[in-house]
């Protein structure tokens, strides 16, 4: 129990934050006129954007409640269907998200938001030829800049990170008229593309720049933290994420940094991370396949368990980090044959990555030396 009145029990989004104020104002407006779709649409978008920024799943639920009465219509308004798809996508309910997007696009084939969301979905699931078509539709209906950003993202997954950097740099140069969140996104993509190329100084420069545009953005912070962990700079991870331990994905990086530093406190951190995953499991959520693999592999030292988690995660998502954790788990478990499908995917997509490539080479060599799997 708290000892004194001044004890701080919990941090919450401060009401003084203009974004929080805007959400509250919209909420009040909607409560007064619950049938106003334009207000609901704005509020749901505000919740989604804020939830993404601070990395808080609650806001997806709030957004879902806000649009629920329109989702119940048959058929729901297209823009509502697309918002619901984005919410499902956050929860990794990819098949349901895809089905909704397809329905929305059947009725409104010019919906750029739907095409962009579908492009993202296809990219994260490794369906690159389809993603290419989606990006073309984004360019057609959402404009040149969005289309280029879409393609720039895609190319970095196809062994064309050099071209990706060129085209993304072009958009970044166009930047003055773009919103900070868009600039932050492009800078984040540039950081990732430079990582594919092994250009660490450029990657770091872009991470820092992206965080100037979107300080506190959970996704960017966590990506930069991964970069720092890979560079052997765990102390900087602790500084970077000091105020973000509430986020589960950020917390995992803190625990990994503590492990790298051989902190005496590590068991406590590992315990807390395990408890967070357990709480997710208890509620039937499975958002963090990738993170769970890393936790099992690097913190619980359970290679077999990690490989099993990686296998499940692979059925859901196939971005470069999913490739990497799968190969790391197969390598640690000394089961190169388990990685055969992932290695085939790599060969097909030509993903370039200075960390994944040597790992894949080693596993291929072991696979070639080993007797064929029965």
């Amino acid at each position: 129990m708290p000892q004194s009145d001044a004890d701080v029990l919990q941090q919450v989004p401060p009401a003084s934050d203009p974004k929080v104020r805007d959400m509250k104002a919209l909420r009040t407006k909607l409560d007064k006129a619950p049938g106003e779709l334009p207000t609901a649409d704005l509020l749901a978008r505000a919740y989604i954007a804020f939830g993404r920024e601070v990395g808080d799943a609650h806001y997806a639920g709030y957004a879902e409640a806000v649009i629920a009465r329109w989702m119940a219509q048959k058929p729901p308004p297209v823009e509502v269907q697309v918002l619901q798809a984005i919410i499902l996508q956050f929860r990794h309910q990819f098949a349901d998200a895809r089905a909704l997007l397809e329905k929305a696009l059947a009725r409104d084939p010019q919906n750029a938001q739907a095409w962009l969301t579908l492009a993202t979905l296809d990219m994260v699931q490794g369906r690159y030829p389809t993603a290419k078509d989606d990006c073309a539709q984004v360019a057609r209906h959402g404009g040149y800049v969005l289309g280029i950003a879409c393609v720039g993202n895609l190319r970095s997954y196809l062994g064309e990170a050099r071209q990706s950097v060129v085209i993304l740099t072009q958009i970044a140069g166009d930047a003055p008229r773009l919103s900070p969140s868009f600039k932050a996104w492009v800078e984040g993509l540039l950081a990732g593309a430079n990582e594919r190329l092994g250009d660490w100084p450029q990657a770091e420069r872009h991470y820092r720049k992206s965080l100037e545009y979107a300080p506190g953005d959970n996704f960017l912070l966590v990506s930069y933290a991964d970069f720092l962990l890979d560079r052997g700079r765990p102390k900087e991870v602790l500084t970077l994420l000091a105020d973000h331990s509430q986020s589960d994905t950020a917390f995992l990086r803190i625990v990994l940094a503590q492990a790298a530093l051989r902190s005496a406190d590590l068991p406590r951190y590992v315990f807390l991370m395990a408890a967070r995953f357990e709480a997710l499991r208890a509620r039937g959520s499975d958002y963090y396949g990738r993170e769970q693999v890393r936790f099992a592999l690097h913190l619980q030292h359970d290679a077999e368990g990690a490989l099993e988690l990686a296998r499940r995660n692979w059925e859901v998502q196939r971005a470069p980090w999913d490739v990497r954790v799968f190969l790391e788990a197969a390598d640690a478990a000394k089961r190169p044959q388990a990685a055969a499908d992932v290695l085939a995917f790599l060969a097909e997509t030509k993903l370039q990555d200075p960390i994944i490539e040597p790992l894949a080479r080693r596993l291929r060599a072991e696979l070639a030396a080993a007797p064929p799997a029965r």
Partner: protein, 178 residues
């Protein structure tokens, strides 16, 4: 493309692309009912259960604005002075009945519990159902109207052991094992 459309897209563009998973666990509460001390605690022949309900302060803040100062910190003083509001709010969304006859839920006290993802208000209460237990049902609706992804993790302890269930908008009503 119009500036309006671009702004609308850019508003959620990060949402669409950058981050495909949220970082915080979604909203959970933990509802525990204990029937093991039932007989000892009452002289009458009524059924008495003891309950504990842990609700995240983050979730309560969303509906009740606990952070009165708006500085982003919920202090003990801010929470302490709102205990009654919290109880009034929460208990509206919990109904317990035996064979369709409502049982009485009597709040006893509130404490603060630390969970792995933050601090929770721990609401303690007693449930009295008239007569011997027949078919005790729990109806749970906390936060569902504002966040359909909220889940109540339910644990029931009785002489027969421990049973658990997950309460959701689709499964808001459950029956306790005999």
């Amino acid at each position: 493309m119009s500036a309006g459309l671009f702004a609308a897209i850019a508003g959620v563009i990060g949402a669409a692309i950058a981050s495909l998973a949220f970082a915080h666990s979604a909203s959970d509460a933990y509802l525990m009912l204990d029937a093991t001390k039932a007989a000892a605690s009452t002289a009458s022949r009524d059924t008495v259960l003891h309950g504990q309900w842990d609700i995240a302060l983050r979730d309560l803040d969303f509906v009740l604005s606990l952070d009165a100062s708006g500085d982003g910190d919920i202090t003990w003083a801010e929470l302490r002075t709102r205990q009654r509001d919290i109880a009034d709010y929460a208990y509206r969304y919990l109904r317990i009945a035996d064979a369709g006859v409502p049982c009485t839920i009597r709040p006893t006290r509130m404490m603060v519990d630390d969970h792995a993802d933050g601090a929770y208000a721990a609401l303690f209460f007693d449930v009295t159902c008239p007569g011997r237990p027949q078919k005790i049902g729990v109806d749970y609706r906390l936060f569902f109207a504002i966040d359909p992804s909220h889940r109540g993790v339910f644990v029931f302890r009785s002489g027969a052991g421990t049973a658990t269930a997950l309460l959701s908008p689709e499964t808001a009503t459950i029956e306790l094992p005999p």
